[in-house]
């Protein structure tokens, strides 16, 4: 086991606490860079979605994970980013300009949402962000001169510095990856700066933060603005990836999916956003795989355990019937969320930390290390 000796504050906030990190992330980055030459085009497309979801996940982590302000309205920020890009594109604005403009506009709107949110906490904030998202959805459907209403908008192929970048080309993947890496590094830097420290202080105790001289209102608005701006950037990529956007893509369902991303990944570390994004994006191909291949596999297993061909056939058809039931995906989604909340509240990254610690401390690992402390409910109304 490695012990890190920290002698000053600079040691504590290093991006790479020891050389092992450089090696691991270097290898990971190298693997991601050669991915387009190895993986199938379908998987590459999924990988682009992983990048986009992870960017939104990081944005949501800044707001929910580190500032402690829940939001169920991030689909609206994504929509604003996407529509800004699509609208500016009609006037032949170059990509870097509308990319930044989309981020700036969503950031501004995020700050505007942040102001009313200052006085709201907990459940009231959740409902306020839901209301905001529903209003944005309705505006997108009605403001036909700009958004073309429910017909949706076609997004032209991305052209960067005179080169066209089709949405399924490796270059587009590299672009998404670059934005993701920049977002993550930027966020890491933000979190170790005084601003990030203030965010965490507000999350842990607003009263304590205020009495330490943190301007709570200012930092909450900042957090909203930054989170929204990053989501806006993701929105531009999202629009280009789909090449067609319409209001019904940006529903409450999508906001919930983003929350699930950080919930499943883990809300306390940026790793969580990436792991959660992988999970959410890959669950679809996985379910399709189950649907196509599982009946045969289960029937095969049944056959090896001595079931006759007739029984195996009936097992296969009944499993296939079950797998193709309507709404199975929703049920699996629901079960996954509940199971994660109940049994793995720290998410996938928490599970990884537990496994790592288990091997580091090998015979001495104690489950209680990660045990949540049970608190007794006290009324929020009297807080």
């Amino acid at each position: 086991m490695r012990f890190l000796f920290k002698t000053d504050y600079e040691d504590d906030i290093k991006l790479f606490p020891h050389s092992g990190y450089l090696v691991t992330y270097g290898v990971l980055l190298a693997l991601l860079l050669i991915a387009p030459h190895v993986l199938s085009s379908y998987l590459m497309s999924q990988l682009v979605f992983v990048c986009i979801y992870a960017i939104v996940g990081v944005a949501l982590l800044i707001l929910t994970g580190f500032t402690g302000q829940a939001s169920l309205g991030h689909a609206a920020f994504l929509a604003i980013g996407a529509y800004t890009a699509a609208y500016l594109q009609k006037y032949n604005v170059p990509f870097p300009v509308y990319f930044l403009a989309a981020g700036a506009l969503t950031g501004l709107i995020g700050a505007l949402v942040g102001f009313p949110a200052l006085r709201l906490t907990g459940i009231y904030l959740v409902i306020a962000t839901i209301s905001f998202a529903l209003i944005v959805e309705e505006i997108l459907a009605r403001w036909e001169s700009v958004t073309h209403g429910n017909e949706g908008m076609r997004v032209k192929t991305l052209s960067l510095l005179g080169v066209t970048v089709p949405r399924d080309s490796p270059t587009f993947y590299y672009l998404c990856l670059a934005v993701l890496v920049l977002t993550i590094v930027g966020t890491l830097n933000l979190l170790r700066s005084p601003t990030g420290r203030a965010f965490v202080a507000i999350r842990d105790s607003e009263t304590a933060a205020r009495s330490m001289g943190v301007n709570v209102a200012l930092y909450k608005v900042k957090s909203f603005a930054i989170s929204a701006a990053i989501t806006g950037f993701a929105g531009v990529l999202f629009a280009h990836k789909l090449s067609f956007i319409s209001p019904e893509m940006f529903t409450l369902q999508l906001s919930i999916e983003f929350i699930i991303v950080i919930l499943i990944g883990g809300t306390f570390s940026l790793h969580g956003a990436v792991l959660g994004a992988i999970f959410i994006v890959m669950i679809d191909p996985f379910l399709t795989y189950l649907k196509d291949d599982m009946p045969g596999i289960i029937a095969g297993i049944a056959a090896t355990f001595g079931a006759g061909p007739a029984t195996a056939g009936s097992i296969q058809s009944s499993v296939a019937a079950f797998a193709s039931l309507n709404g199975l995906k929703g049920a699996i989604y629901g079960i996954i969320i509940v199971l994660f909340v109940l049994f793995e509240p720290l998410g996938l990254y928490g599970r990884w930390l537990k496994i790592k610690l288990f091997f580091q401390l090998f015979p001495l690992y104690k489950r209680a290390t990660f045990k949540r402390q049970k608190i007794y409910v006290k009324s929020e109304r009297n807080r």
Partner: protein
Amino acid sequence: MLDFVQQLVSGVALGCVYGLIALGFVLVYKATEVVNFAQGDLMMLGGFFAFTFIGMMGLNYWIGFAGAVAAMALFGMLAERVVVRPILGYPQFSIIMATIGLGYFLRSIAGMIWGTDDLKIETPFSQGVLRMGSLVLAYDKLSVIAATMILCTLLWLFFNKTTLGTAMRASSENMLAAYYMGIPVKRVVSVVWAISAAVATCAGVLLAPITFIHSNVGLVLGLKAFPAAVLGGFGSIPGAVVGGVLIGVIESMAGFYLPEGWKDVAPYLVLLTVLLLKPEGLFGLHVRKKV
């Protein structure tokens, strides 16, 4: 003028629908400080249970109604035991996510069992309208208004006048202190989930002739009932109904007087405005702690 009154009355009727669902939200919140995002889906499930008893098994309407309420009360207890109790006392965010997950699950399961068609229950209120002068009001809507008023009064009395109700308020205010006072907090929470599932079932069955029953009805109405509960100030039972009626009236007025599209947005705009001015809702209890 007549138009206005007619819109007002139908708005109130619609609002009572929201109020009825919002009552369920408020009940659970008042007793456990948990926001149950699956409330609408409990309502949907209640409707399906009633459909099974009345439409498929051919029972009498009232017997089927009572059966559905009883079955859902048990189901509410089960849901509390499995999903909520293990995480009671952890951050509110996790409980919200757990109930969202529960909602997903219930919607899909209901879709698998009962299919995706709109189902209808034959009720004694299905036909006929009440005429007062030139005002027209359908019996099925009247039944919702009446039921909302009755349930609201009963629940208010229950919370404020009975020992169990006091125990519920105590356990929400401070769970540990409630334990010390000898209140069986776990059983109290179980009971409150049973009651709220039962209230949701009443809503589901009464709405069946108006909105029909399908697996997404809970989500759609829940999203309207939720602002109603917040508008009324989440912890107040009369507040839920007042909030619901306000949302309903706003919606029907906006649908009538404003251009198309405002109908769906207006309730949320009003909600945001109210939250800006009074962050704890119209009837919310909020005592600021002095530091």
